[in-house]
Symmetry: C5
Subunit: 340 residues, 5 copies
C-alpha cells in the first residue's frame, strides 16, 4: 500500500516542503488560518469520504453477489439440463448419444454466454479511469479478456451458425439466451424435454436474464458523478488549506523551544513535513481506495474476479459433463497475486 501510493506521497512532501520553505525563509509566521474553520472542513471531508466508502463497498459487494448468483444458477442449469433432457415423453425413442449431444450443446452455449458477459464487462467506459493510473499499470498485468478477442473465444463453444447470429446482434449475451430458449423449445416440441421441465428451464433463462441485467446495471450506471467529484474537491481543499493552519502552529512551538534551545527551535518547523504527510496520506488513501472500487469490472487488481469465476464454473460444468480433466482449460493464473 505504501508502494502503491508512492507518487502521491511524494507530491505531499513537495507541497508541504514548499510551504515550510516559504514560511521559513520569508518569515511568514503571521499568516495563518484559525483551526476552527479547518475543523468544519475536516468534518465535511470525513463525512463525504465515509459516505463514498460505504456506497462503493456496497457496489463491490453487490457485484460479487451477482456473480455468486451466476455461479449458483450455472450449476443448477448444468444439473437440470442433464436430468431434464430425456426421451421419456418423446413420441419415439431417442438414442442416448444424441441426448448427450444436446446436453453438451446447451452446456457449451451456457459457457459461451458467460464468456460474452465477461467480455461485455471489460468494455472500457468513459468514466473508468482507475486502470490508467501509473501505479496500476506498472506491473503490466491485464485481464484475460484483453489477450484474445470475443470471437476467438466464442468459436470454442458455439456452432458457426450460432456464432454468426450472435455477433450480428448488439447485445451478444441476450442473443445467446434467445438461442438457448429457442433450442429448449425445439427439444420440447420433439418431446425430449417434458413440457413442465420446459417451464422450469425457461425459468432459469429468466433468472439468467436477471443476473445479466444486474451486472450490466452495475457496469452502466456509474457511482453518481456529482458525489465522486465532491470527494475529490473536498479532500484537496482540506489538504491545500491545511498547511496554512499547521505550519504556523509548529512555528509557535518552535518559538517556545527557541527560548531554551535556539537551534532546535529554529529547525522545529521542518518537523511539520512528516506530520502533514501522514495526515495527507491518510485522507488521500481513504479517498483513493474509495475511488478504486467504484467500477468493479474495470480490470484492475481490486476487481471482482469475473474471469476466474467464469473459468471456475466452466471447469465445474465440464468435469460434471464427464469430460476428461486434460481437455478442460486450466484456471487463469494469478499474476503478482492478482486474480482477474
Amino acid at each position: 500500500m505504501v508502494k502503491w501510493t508512492r507518487f502521491e506521497t511524494l507530491s505531499f512532501v513537495i507541497i508541504i516542503g514548499a510551504w515550510v520553505s516559504i514560511y521559513y525563509f520569508l518569515e511568514l509566521d503571521w499568516f495563518r488560518i484559525p483551526w476552527t474553520p479547518m475543523a468544519l472542513i475536516g468534518t465535511a471531508v470525513a463525512f463525504v469520504i465515509g459516505f463514498q466508502n460505504n456506497a462503493v463497498y456496497g457496489r463491490i459487494w453487490e457485484a460479487r453477489k451477482i456473480w455468486g448468483g451466476i455461479v449458483n444458477t450455472s450449476r443448477t442449469f448444468g444439473v437440470y439440463v442433464q436430468d431434464m433432457v430425456t426421451d421419456e415423453h418423446a413420441k419415439e425413442s431417442v438414442s442416448n448419444d444424441s441426448i448427450k449431444k444436446e446436453v453438451k450443446i446447451l452446456t457449451y452455449r451456457h459457457i459461451a454466454w458467460m464468456t460474452a458477459l465477461r467480455y461485455a464487462m471489460r468494455n472500457k467506459k468513459q468514466w473508468e479511469t482507475t486502470s490508467k493510473h501509473r501505479t496500476n499499470t506498472e506491473w503490466g498485468i491485464k485481464p484475460p479478456e484483453m489477450k484474445s478477442t470475443l470471437v476467438e473465444e466464442l468459436k470454442l463453444y458455439l456452432s458457426d451458425d450460432d456464432l454468426k447470429e450472435v455477433m450480428n446482434k448488439d447485445n451478444h449475451q441476450t442473443a445467446i439466451l434467445y438461442l438457448q430458449s429457442h433450442h429448449i423449445r425445439k427439444l420440447k416440441d420433439k418431446g425430449i424435454i417434458w413440457e413442465f421441465s420446459f417451464l422450469e428451464l425457461e425459468a432459469l433463462i429468466k433468472e439468467l436474464f436477471t443476473l445479466q441485467g444486474q451486472t450490466e446495471r452495475i457496469k452502466n450506471f456509474p457511482y453518481p458523478r456529482q458525489y465522486a467529484s465532491l470527494n475529490h474537491y473536498f479532500m484537496w481543499l482540506l489538504l491545500l488549506l491545511l498547511p496554512m493552519a499547521l505550519v504556523p502552529q509548529f512555528m509557535d512551538i518552535g518559538k517556545e523551544i527557541a527560548v531554551n534551545y535556539p537551534l532546535w527551535g529554529d529547525i522545529f518547523i521542518w518537523f511539520t513535513i512528516p506530520i502533514y504527510t501522514a495526515v495527507a496520506w491518510m485522507f488521500h488513501t481513504m479517498e483513493r481506495i474509495g475511488r478504486t472500487g467504484e467500477n468493479p469490472f474495470e480490470g484492475t487488481s481490486n476487481d471482482v474476479p469475473i474471469s476466474t469465476i467464469s473459468r471456475g464454473i466452466e471447469i465445474d460444468l465440464r468435469q460434471n459433463l464427464g469430460e476428461d480433466k486434460s481437455k478442460i482449460p486450466v484456471q487463469f493464473p494469478a499474476e503478482h497475486g492478482v486474480q482477474f
Copy 2:
C-alpha cells in the same frame, strides 16, 4: 461542479464581503459569537446533511434497480412470448405467419407500456423544483418526453382501438397491461398458448405491475418534506451565523500581526472571504447535491436515464424479433454528456 454552483458561490462572496466590510469600517470587532455553540450547530448540520445524502442516494439506487428490473423482465417477456406462442396445443393448426403477427403485437404493446410509463414518470409534481434552477436550465436540454406527446408515441405501437381504450383510462400503463392480459387469455382460449404457459405469462404481467407500482411509488411519495426543509433551514442557519464567529477570529489574528506588520495586520480581515466561501461552498454543495437526487425522474441531468433505458430495450426486443436494424429507431443522443 464549480460552474454549476457559480451563482451560490457569488452570493457567499457577497454575504461575507458585506460582513467583513461592516466589521472593518464600523470597527465592530467586539461583536462575536463564541465557537462552542457553533460547534453544536455544525454537528447538527453535518448530521442532517449526512442523513439526507444517505436517504437520497438510497432513492436513486432503488429507482435504478427498479428500471434494471424492467429491463430484465422485458427481455424475459420478449423471449417467453416467442417460445410460448405456438400452435402445438391448438385445436386446429395456425399458420406460422399469424403466430408471428401475434408475437409482434404483444411485443409492440409491451414497448407501448414502457413508453406510457416513462411519460408518466416525467409528469411534473408540485415538489419537483430542481429542474427550474437556473444552472439546470441554461443548456436548454430536456428529456425526449417533452419533445413529443404520448399519443404520438403510442400510435407507433398500438392499434387504434387499443389506443382509444388506453387514453380513456386515467392510468395508461395499467390499461395497457389489462389489454396484454386479455390478449394472452384470448390466445390461450384459441389454444395458441398452452394453459400452463398462460400462467407463466400472467406471472410476468404480475411482475410488470409490481415494477410499475414501484417506480410510481418513488415518483409519488416524495422524500418527506419535513426532512427536506430541515436541511435547508439548518444549513442556512449555520452559514448566516458563521461570519459572526469567523470574522472576529481573523480580526484577532490581524491585531496580533499588526504589532509587527501594521499593513498586513490591517488588511488581514479580508482573508476571511476565501475561507468563509470555501466552508460555505462545501456545506451548500453537499446539501444541494442531496436535494438534486431527491426526485430521480424529474428530468435533470442527474436522473435515472429512463428514456435511454426504454429505448435500449426497444432496440433489443426488435432486433431479436428479427427486424431490420435500419427500421429500428436509434438510441436518444446524449446532449452535453447528459443521458435522459
Copy 3:
C-alpha cells in the same frame, strides 16, 4: 416549519430569557459548567437523535413499500380475476353475465378488504400521541376514516350476509380474505375457475395475508419505548444544562467589550437569547421530526397516505371493470395540502 414549532420556540425564549435575567440581575457570572462535559453530552444526544431518525425513516419507508405492495397485488388481483374466471372448464356453459357478476363481487370484496384494513390502521393506539399535539390539531383536518363508520363503508361493497359474518369476527380484514378464498373455491368446484388458476388465486390470497400482516406489524409494534424516551430525556438534559455553560461565555465576552464600550458590554449578555434559541430549536426540531414519523398510520399530516392510496386503487379497479367514471367515487381531496 417555523410556524409548526412556534410553541416550543416560545418556550425556549422564555427559558433562556429567565436564565439570562437571573445571571444579569443576580450577577451570577461565577456560576458555570465547563464546556468539556457539554461536549460529551452533545455527542450522546447527536448519536441518539441520529439513531432515532434512521430507524423512524426506515419505518415510514417500509410502511410506504407495504402499501405500494398492496397497490401492485390489487392490480394483479383485478386482472387475474377478469382473465381467470371463465367457463372453459365448466361442466355446463355459464352465461357471460353471471361470470361478470362473479368478477364484480370478487373485485368489490377486495375493495372491502382494503377499506377494513385502512380503518384498522386508524385505530388509536395508546402510544400514538402525536395527533394530540396542539399544532397538529389546529387546522381541524382529519382522515376520512374518522368521518364515517366502517359498517357504512363496507355496506357499499359487501352483501348483507358477508357483512354480518365479517363484523362478527375480531379481525375484519382476515374474515374478508377467508370469504374471498371460500368464494374462489366454490367457483373452482363449479368449474368456472380452472383448478390451476385456483392455485394462482389462492397464492394471491396468501400474498394479501402477508401484506396485511406486515402493515399490522408496523401498526402494533411501536418504535421501542426505551429508545423513544431516551431521545426525549437526553435532548432536554442538553437543553437545560446548556444555558449554564452558554450564558457565562457571553458574559465573559461582554466583560471584554466593556473595557472599550461599557454600554454594549453590559447588554451583550442578552444576545445569548437568539443563539440559544437557534441551537435549542435545531435539536428540538430534529427530535420532534423523528417522533412525528414513529407511527406512520396515526392520522397526522406526515402519514403514509393510506386513504388516498386505497381510493386510487378503487378507482383503478372499477375503471378497468368497465364502470362509468361518473359512478366511481372521486379521490379524497387534499385539505391544506395534506393527503391522508
Copy 4:
C-alpha cells in the same frame, strides 16, 4: 426510565461523591488527566455504543419480522387447509363432517407447533442474563411459558399418540411439522387433498421450517460476545477515568470564583456531582438499553411479545374455524403494561 436505572444512578453518585471528597479533603487538585485523551476515549465509546445499538435494534426488528411472518403463514395455512381439503378428487365420497374433523386436527396441530416454538424460545441460554437484573425482576411478572409446562399445553392440541411422538424427539417443533407433512400426505393418498394442493401445502410446511429456523437462529446465535463485552469495558473505562479530568476542572473554576466569593468558590467542587451523574447516566443508559435488546426472547419487558402473538393467531384461527367465542381462550393479560 429514571426508576429503572435508579441503582446505577445511585452508584454513580457514590463514585463521584467519593472522588470529590478525596479531591476536596486531600487537596488533590494537582492530580488530573488532560482532556485530550478523554476525547479520544469518548469517541471510541460513542462509536462502540452506536454500533451496538444499531446491531441490537436490527436483531429485535428482525425477530419481530420473523414472528410477523409466522402470523401471515399461519393465516394462510388456516385458509388453505379449509379450502384445499375436499373430496372432489377422492375415489369415494367423504362425509362433510369427517372433512371438517381433518381440518380441525391440522389446525390444532398448527397451534401446537406455535406453542412448542414459543416454549423453545423461552429456554434460558447461558448468555441471557438481563432477566436476572434487579429492576427487571422486582414486579414479579413472568411470561406465560413459565406458568405451565409444555406437555400441559400441547395436550390441548395434540392426540395422545402425536404427543408421545413429539415429546420423544429433541426438537419438538420439527417433530410436529413432520407429523403435519405425514398427515397431509395421507390425506393426499386418500384423495381428500388434490395432488397439486398437496404440493402447495408442502410448500407451506417448507415456509414454516424456514420461519422456525430463523427464530431459532436468533435465539441460538447471540450477539457476538467480543462486541458485547467491548461495550461494557469501554464504557466503564470512560466513566472511571472521567472524574480525574472533570473534578479538577471544577476546582479550577472554584478557585477563580473564590477570588470574589470565597464561600461559593470553596463548595463549587461539589457541583461536579450532578454533572458527572448526568453524563454517566446517559452513557450507561445508552449501553444498558443496547444490552437489554440483545436477546429478544429472554422473557423481559422489552421482548418481542411472542406469547401474545401466538395466542392472537390461535384466536384468529379458531374463530375462522367457526368455533364459539366462549370456547376460545382469551388473550394473555398485559401486566404492568408489559405484553409477553
Copy 5:
C-alpha cells in the same frame, strides 16, 4: 478479553514506557506534536475502524444466515423425501422396505453434502491468519474437521461408488448434488417419485446449490485487502504518533504541579503510561475484534459454528428417520466454551 489481548497490552506498556523514559531522562519536553493534527488522524482512524466493524459484522451475520438457510432447507429436504417417495404412481408396486432404503440413501447423501461443505469451509486460505495468533492457539483446541479426514467421514454416508466419483471431482459438494439429482431422476423414471414431486425436489437441489455457492462466496472473497490493511496502518500511525502529543502534555501538568509539590510534579510524567495504555488498548482491541471476524469459517473461537450446526441437523434428520438415538453420533463437545 483482557487476557486475550495481554501480549499487545504489554507491547503498549513497553512503547509508552520507552517514550516516557526518553522524555524524562533526556528532558525532551520541548519536542511535541500539536493536538490538532492528532484530532484529524483520530477522526480518520475512528472512521475506518467503524467502517471495518460494520462490514465485518455484516459478513458474520450473513454467514450465519446462510447456514441457518442450510438448516431450514435440510429439514425440508428430510421431510419432502419421506413424503414424496411413494409408489403411488409407480407402474408396479414397490415394497415399503425398498422405499425406506431409498429415503435413507438420499438422507445420508445429504449429510455427506453437509460434511463435504464444512470441510471445504475449513480449507486454509492465504489471507486467513487469525488462527495463527498466539492467544488463539494456546488452548490447543481445533475444529473437528482437523481431527479426521474428509474421506473417513464421507465413508459413513456414501456408497463406495459414490465416494470414488465424489473424490474424483475438484468440488466435492457439487459432485454430491449432481449424484442426488441423478438419483432423484432415476426414482422418477421408475415412478417412485411423481413427476411434479420430482420438480419440487429439483427445486431443493437448486436451493442447496445457492446456499453452497453463498457460503463459498464468503469463504473465497475476502474482506477487500485494501480496506483491511488501511485499518492496520492507520491505527498504528495513531498509536505511534500519540506519545509525542501526550507525554509533553503530562510534562506540562507536571511542571505546574512542581510549583507546589516538587516530588509529585517530577514523577507525574509516568502517569502517562496507564492513560496511553488505556487509549491504545481501546483502539487496538476495536481493530483486532474487527479483524477477527473477517473470515468467519477460519476455525477460531469467534467462527460461525458450522460443525455444530451440521451435526445438529444430522441428529435431527436421523431421529426423524426413526433411527435409534444410541446409533446417532452425539453433538461435538464445546471445549473451553468454544463451539466450532
